[in-house]
Symmetry: C2
Subunit: 218 residues, 2 copies
């Protein structure tokens, strides 16, 4: 049965692949699972029909027969559990890969989102110039620790896993910010993720939604 | 083999059970798994020996034979996967319970932590009075959606699960803030979690660390 995911009808990032459907698309491509996409408008996302699928009125969702899931982390985990390719077979290595999924979403992403949210929502507030460096220091605390752990390895724990997929996507939310460039091994890590054929197929698919609907800016 | 977790040597919350070892203690009690605790100081948490266990220099960690994990979400999931009692047997219900774990940690907790962090770190900044209501509105957006989904049910999806454990703990981080009281069904939900015998055993265990070390404040 082909699963259906939801994604933004109008991409707020203009197809840069920062929305959370990209995480799910990438996982689907890694495991070779074809999928359908239903696009939802910002208005539809907050209506009861979509809220029944996603209580918080966001994307992505995942429908497969009588199963309906939300939360990109949970959907990627579901795919990783049911298909080969995203979690190691060894039980301890598998538990460690899952740990990196949670670390990406609960330890590394929050300060990155806090910084992003300040730039989006508070950039015209009188305090923004003083707060932004505080927020970047909080991001640095996480990136520094991550950079030390990664060292010169290709991936966080042995072979590429769902933990790397999630961490690369979380780091991509920095969207080329100077603070990421302070950690060359993390930049190389993100680039390794982006170079994977499955990533590239997923990226092209989410970009196509945008480029097919909005004329190119001049 | 008895697993060992780490917890704060000096509880920053004075034993109110808000630190993340409480999530793991509760899960261990729910599944009936005895455990040892190694207390770490703030200084030790940032040293290489602890960083080898937890790259971000935090608690809790989990050691069981040759397996070492960090991230409370990952540890609770590990316990839920290996013991009965925290995840349903039905595959779809299990996937939905895991979804609620991710929703607690990646959708509901971030705005709650952002509010907490502002109160801890920015309360003397000139912008705090104007920012705090903005942060509380972000918390309300999540609590309102969660409250609507929960309705008058006891738990988020059928029987109590690791998803409820994580969500109750995340809501407890609001630590009785007025914003939580706006949602009586969420207050009752937290109280139901706190009333569970396993919760109470875990709470007493974390409180004992504090009350055995620090004289009562007068």
């Amino acid at each position: 049965m082909t699963p259906t995911i939801t994604a933004f009808e109008q991409s707020p990032d203009r197809g840069r692949g920062l929305a959370r459907d990209m995480r799910v698309r990438w996982a689907l491509e890694e495991v070779g699972q074809p999928y359908d996409v239903r696009l939802v408008s910002f208005k539809e996302m907050k209506e009861p029909a979509h809220r029944a699928l996603h209580p918080f009125g966001q994307i992505p969702t995942y429908e497969e027969g009588d199963l309906a899931l939300f939360e990109s982390g949970a959907i990627v985990f579901h795919l990783a559990e049911r298909h080969a390719g995203l979690l190691p077979e060894d039980a301890n290595a598998r538990a460690r890969a899952i740990t990196w999924m949670f670390a990406a979403l609960n330890t590394v992403e929050p300060p990155i989102l806090e910084r992003e949210s300040a730039i989006l929502v508070e950039r015209n507030k009188p305090w923004h110039a003083e707060r932004l460096p505080m927020l970047e220091d909080r991001v640095r605390a996480r990136l520094g620790a991550l950079s030390s752990r990664l060292g010169d390895a290709d991936w966080l724990d042995g072979a590429f896993s769902a933990g790397d997929l999630m961490m690369v996507m979380v780091l991509r939310r920095l969207d080329g910010a100077a603070v990421l460039n302070e950690y060359p091994n993390l930049c190389a890590y993100v680039a390794r993720g982006e170079a994977r054929p499955a990533y590239q197929r997923a990226f092209a698919a989410q970009l196509a939604v945008f480029s097919s609907r909005v004329p190119a800016a001049r």
